[in-house]
């Protein structure tokens, strides 16, 4: 028998590679989106801090805006620095 696979269409779910399943700020799953967004993934990305904690980008930006003086990671209270890995 000669078996030719002309095309294989598989099904996969995508997920963020993160330490946690949920955003520490909005408690929503990372694979969903933040409360302000409708579409997950590219439209509501994650960002990591140098402390290695990560959040929905929209969530941490909103958090930082509400903290005019000491911009800290809401999880570990270290000063927040974006990790542009």
């Amino acid at each position: 028998m000669k078996l030719t696979i002309k095309n294989w269409t598989g099904v996969a779910t995508w997920r963020w590679v993160a330490n946690d399943d949920n955003c520490g700020i909005c408690r929503m799953p990372f694979d969903g989106c933040c409360p302000d967004c409708k579409l997950p993934g590219d439209d509501c990305p994650l960002v990591w801090g140098q402390c290695s904690h990560c959040f929905h980008m929209h969530c941490i930006v909103k958090w930082l805006q509400s903290q005019p003086v000491n911009q800290q990671c809401p999880m570990c209270r270290q000063g927040w620095k974006f990790n542009n890995k």
Partner: protein, 762 residues
């Protein structure tokens, strides 16, 4: 009077000569005196016997009628088998009666002369006029001897005449008379008919003798006429033509008869009768349409004219309660039972709503009729699925049309409803003839989709069902028309609101994104495909309905390819990775065996099985189950797919072999030829087998339709199948294919085909 010389004998002779009826035996000579001889009048006057003579004459006349004339008249009414002679028979009977009547009337003339001469004014039978008295006497004697079965001759006479009138209306230039079936030029029907009516009229016997028969005849005739023109045809309005027919045939015919009614009340009488007949016509027509209503509804919108007719008739008749009862009964016996598929119930339901909207805009009738359907639909498990799938299905269908109509779904929240306060001046109470319902305080929405949602009282159930179906559809046909699905989703959003359908939007976006990502990855120079072209549907798990959890260990070759794809994805989308649902997806295969080749689209499990058989020509169920991580019971089922295609056989229990060559030699021979010439053709052959099986699944649908609707044309069957049966991605069939299939069923005597309609054998 004591003159002894008076010759009483001579006087009596003079009198009996003037009135031969007083002779013994009484005589009614062919030719009689026109008037009383002067001598006789004088004699009677002299003897002062005018009253006595008058009494004696009348008694003799009555006797004559009783003993002779009337029995002879009625003797014409004996039943015969010679139907053709009946017309003349009645004519002759009336002629005979009239002839004798005229002779008696002549005697009355003489009596009148006598009365005047002798100043006798005493009325006879309350009639001052002796002619009138005679009419009364004739009528009384006739009716006193009325035979039990006299009606048939009268009916037969008038029926023939009416038929003649009716076909004259239909077609002039007819060679033959419909009454006597003779050539027009020898037919005397018209003359005989006129003569008979005229004579009956003169004797004032029209109404007493034939009135009741005429009424019966006309009612029956109208009934039969309506039945004839309304039989199974709902696509024409008949009201106007019926009224016209009533005027031009029945009424004008009646006028011809009563024209001779001497009582001179023909005008008023006809007018009254006219009203009665019109109302009878409406009643009869409405009843027939009500009896047909279920079928009329099923054939909506082709049956619109019949519905319109019924709408106009209802206010003129008293039949609304009858309609409600009849339709409810029909629904119960023909629709709401386990033999009818849910989708058929739904179609009928939609048609019912649309039809009843026309019949009864106030909605009460609709509510009464649909309540049992609601209850019934709620009890069926697959209702939501059927609604949703017909909402989203290809091609024109009723529910989808309703969706396009717009309007947000109103879910009854049991809130008291503002009954349109601005409109209070035009408010009218609900007609009492509908069945009173406890829910009448709720809004009577006539929006079909809202009504259907209200059957369940929840939008969520609907939306969830839609989401599941959409997911199935998207996963089973990767190439499906997302544009169309998006358009559809927009329509649904108008109905169910954005928030409910947001998940579905993401699902559709996932599919569109996946196509883009596939393109990107294929262009990625670091990504390579050895011999397995790969693509992926990458879905956002949070937004899709949960997938069935099935395990499947893919073949090494494929697993390697998937790893490559995953790392290409990771490079493309930083910080994100893929989790493969190995058992989901579609695989396009080309299988070349020693004697044939197949090309098929199958599931990953099926493809993986074959990949293993490519490595080893035989597998034990156990071993394969271990390699693939699929439980052996499930695996056996999956293997049977390849067995049915003749690719794999189970030669001994639980051991499967690849079958390079088919066992059946006869088939081999044919396949060989095909394979040599066109490799792909042999795949088609096997696809045809599959096709046959698929068509067979429609058979139960077709049986169901014909059981419910008796007869159907090809187009309608196809249309209905399209609505209900063609639901899988591959199951479709064009009308030509269906015809071939049905014709085969006809040859196998499972169907009967006549006049362009299919039906089941009795």
């Amino acid at each position: 009077m004591n003159n002894p010389s008076f010759d009483y004998k001579a006087a009596w002779a003079t009198i009996t000569q003037a009135f031969p009826i007083l002779q013994s035996p009484p005589s009614l000579p062919e030719s009689d005196f026109e008037t009383v001889p002067f001598e006789a009048v004088n004699t009677i006057k002299l003897l002062n016997l005018a009253e006595q003579i008058q009494g004696l004459v009348i008694t003799r006349m009555e006797e004559r009628l009783r003993k002779d004339i009337v029995p002879q008249f009625w003797s014409h009414f004996k039943k015969t088998d010679h139907d053709s002679a009946t017309f003349r028979e009645f004519h002759d009977a009336v002629k005979f009666l009239y002839y004798n009547y005229m002779k008696l009337d002549l005697i009355m003339n003489k009596l009148i002369v006598l009365r005047e001469a002798s100043n006798v004014a005493k009325p006879v039978y309350n009639h001052a006029c002796l002619h009138e008295a005679l009419k009364l006497i004739v009528k009384a004697v006739l009716l006193s001897q009325l035979p039990v079965d006299q009606q048939w001759l009268i009916l037969s006479f008038y029926e023939k005449a009416l038929k003649r009138q009716d076909c004259e209306e239909e077609s002039y230039g007819n060679e033959q008379c419909c009454g006597c079936l003779q050539e027009q030029y020898v037919c005397q029907c018209v003359e005989m008919f006129q003569e008979t009516n005229k004579k009956l009229g003169k004797m004032a016997l029209l109404e007493p003798l034939v009135g009741q028969s005429l009424t019966d005849l006309i009612y029956n005739y109208i009934q039969a006429h309506i039945q004839k023109i309304c039989k199974d045809s709902f696509d024409t309005s008949h009201l106007e033509s019926l009224e016209k027919w009533l005027q031009s045939v029945i009424i004008s015919w009646l006028k011809k008869i009563y024209y001779y009614d001497c009582a001179n009340r023909s005008e008023r009488f006809i007018n009254e009768f006219d009203q009665k007949l019109i109302s009878y016509l409406y009643n009869a027509y409405t009843k027939i349409r009500i009896d047909q209503l279920f079928n009329i509804i099923i054939e909506y919108p082709d049956s619109l004219p019949a519905l319109e007719d019924l709408r106009l008739c209802l206010p003129k008749t008293d039949l609304k309660p009858h309609l409600t009862k009849t339709l409810q009964k029909a629904m119960e016996t023909r629709l709401l039972h386990p033999g009818v598929s849910t989708s058929d119930v739904l179609t009928a339901y939609v048609a019912t709503i649309r039809s009843l909207r026309i019949l009864d805009p106030c909605g009460l009738l609709l509510e009464t009729i649909t309540q049992p359907i609601h209850r019934y639909l709620r009890s069926r498990e697959d209702t939501i699925r059927c609604v949703v799938s017909s909402l989203t299905e290809e091609g024109p269908n009723d529910l989808a049309e309703e969706l396009v109509r717009g309007e947000a779904v109103q879910v009854d929240e049991n809130t008291p409803v503002d009954d349109g306060v601005e409109d209070w001046e035009t408010w009218t109470p609900d007609p009492v003839d509908g069945v009173t319902s406890k829910t009448s305080g709720l809004p009577r929405t006539s929006d079909i989709i809202s009504m259907l949602v209200n059957v369940y009282g929840s939008k969520e159930l609907f939306v969830n069902e839609y989401r599941t179906l959409l997911a199935d559809r998207l996963l089973s046909q990767y190439s499906c028309d997302t544009e169309k699905e998006i358009r559809y989703l927009e329509l649904l959003k108008l109905r169910f609101g954005d928030s409910q359908l947001h998940y579905c939007e993401v699902m559709l976006k996932d599919i569109a994104d996946s196509k883009r990502i596939n393109q990107h990855i294929k262009q990625d120079l670091n990504y390579s495909e050895d011999d397995i072209p790969m693509s992926a549907m990458i879905v956002s798990a949070q937004f899709w309905p949960p997938f069935k959890d099935e395990k499947l260990e893919l073949h090494k070759r494929l697993a390697k390819q998937m790893e490559k794809y995953t790392s290409a994805f990771e490079t493309l989308k930083g910080s994100r990775t893929l989790c493969w649902k190995t058992h989901l997806g579609i695989v396009d295969l080309e299988i070349e065996l020693a004697d044939r080749s197949l090309s098929l689209s199958v599931s990953p499990v099926h493809a993986t099985i074959l990949m293993h058989f490519q490595d080893h020509k035989s597998w034990s169920l156990d071993a394969l189950s271990k390699v693939m991580h699929v439980p052996s019971t499930i695996l056996r089922r999956k293997l049977s797919f390849w067995q049915s295609h003749g690719v794999i056989t189970e030669r001994e229990p639980d051991v499967f072999h690849l079958q390079e060559e088919q066992e059946n030699k006869e088939n081999n021979l044919q396949d060989d030829i095909v394979v040599e010439d066109y490799e792909s053709e042999s795949a088609m052959a096997s696809a045809q087998d599959q096709r046959e099986e698929e068509l067979q699944t429609f058979w139960s649908y077709i049986l169901g339709m014909l059981m419910n609707l008796d007869t159907l044309p090809l187009e309608r069957i196809h249309q209905m199948l399209k609505m209900f049966a063609f639901q899988g991605p591959t199951i479709e069939c064009n009308i030509q294919e269906l015809k071939v299939f049905l014709d085969r069923k006809v040859r196998e005597h499972q169907l009967i085909y006549s006049n362009g309609l299919y039906r089941l054998p009795k």
